[in-house]
């Protein structure tokens, strides 16, 4: 074994096998996985609205059961539309999909708790014939 630190050997081998360009090595951990914040702030809302985060469907003009998707674009399609790379779009989308105030989660739990208590069978009318009691 060489005199290099074991972790350095692993790092070198990983770089070789990754097939990535040399300038992609040695960056901060943030840069490994995220886009610069200014790029994120410019595009985060547009990426969300064009992605599956906002889904709009319209009736098919030919009367088929298929509803026609509006936008709901893949990362590749969003990249083409916004002039970004697919990788940039994926990074932005992955950052923004969960960049929602924590309060929304608290509200989610409360929403479900109240729905269950107020409508224990999913309806104010207790219409299920075989329900207990």
């Amino acid at each position: 074994m060489s005199s290099q630190d074991y972790s350095e050997v692993i790092l070198e081998k990983s770089r070789k096998d990754s097939g990535l360009a040399g300038d992609s090595f040695g960056t901060s951990v943030y840069d490994l996985f995220c886009v610069p914040l200014d790029l994120y702030n410019v595009f985060k809302d547009r990426v969300l609205k064009l992605s599956l985060a906002y889904q709009k469907w319209e009736a098919s003009p030919d009367g088929s059961v298929i509803l026609v998707a509006q936008d709901q674009l893949s990362d590749q399609e969003i990249a083409e539309k916004l002039g970004l790379t697919e990788d940039e779009v994926m990074r932005i989308r992955c950052m923004t999909e969960w960049d929602i105030p924590m309060e929304v989660w608290r509200n989610a739990a409360e929403f479900k708790r109240r729905s269950r208590l107020e409508k224990p069978l999913g309806t104010p009318r207790r219409t299920i014939r075989t329900e207990p009691g």
């Binding site: 599956l52 889904q55 009736a59 509803l67 989308r93 924590m102 479900k112 075989t130």
Partner: protein, 293 residues
Amino acid sequence: MGCTMIGVAVEEKIKQIALQRGADVAGIASVKDINKSAPRGHRPGDLLAGAKSVITIGARRYTAGTWMTSSTEVMHRSRSAMGTRDAIPLVLARYLEEKQGYPSIVYNAHMTDTGMNVSLSLKVLAEYAGLGSRSMAGGIILNKKFGLLGFSAVVTTMELTPDGLLSKPVCPHSSCIKMWNKKKTTPCMDACSAIEGTINGSRLQDVIYYRQLCATRALTTMNAAYLRLLSEIIKEEDPEKRKFLAIGQARQYAEDPPGRGIWGRCIECMRVCPVNRKAFKSFLKSREGAANE
């Protein structure tokens, strides 16, 4: 296409295996059809070169009692009922490889990255396999007989005769049309503001779904919520407050992260859906009948 095996077409044999193993429904879609709706990068052929067909199976996710429970915790933990859903595709894939000679892969719902995009849309696969149609409730696929189903699939290079789309949509239910005409809302829309849309006559005119609102409800105590909380804990400068953020009531978002995936933990739109309610009620045997067995 449909090769015949001892008098039974392969397509029928595949469906028989799925149903015998516990699936409620099984259907076949052609990759050619699926590609009409799936974008590049999210097509069966992107996972398995030369893919020709996709077999989709569906199984009920909950017992009728789960639909009735007032405990969200019971519902959160009832995914075990979906075990059969996950096991059947492997049996089918083995059958297609070992008995028919066609490479096949199992596909369950999973996200392709740290975000929420999937490799393949199980909704699209189910729709083109004739297992249901999209509903007002966020585009959930509703099956007329079984209501909400959990889907999984097998992508195969074998060309099979597809079942194709349904001829009539399952949603909207007649009672929803009446409600829409009277109040301009439907039970699912009334239950959850992630859902918007309109009905024109007896058809859905448009459907709008705010997935990120639904996600915080359907994935309330999943990894994503934990990670969202983690960033808040790190940000808190007061050590005492930081401690209580970690061990106080917010811990509910940290202590139950069973994995990364699409595991529905909110079914409020489906609890009020007439199609789904009719489905789960129809499987409750009458007490009079049960007494005689």
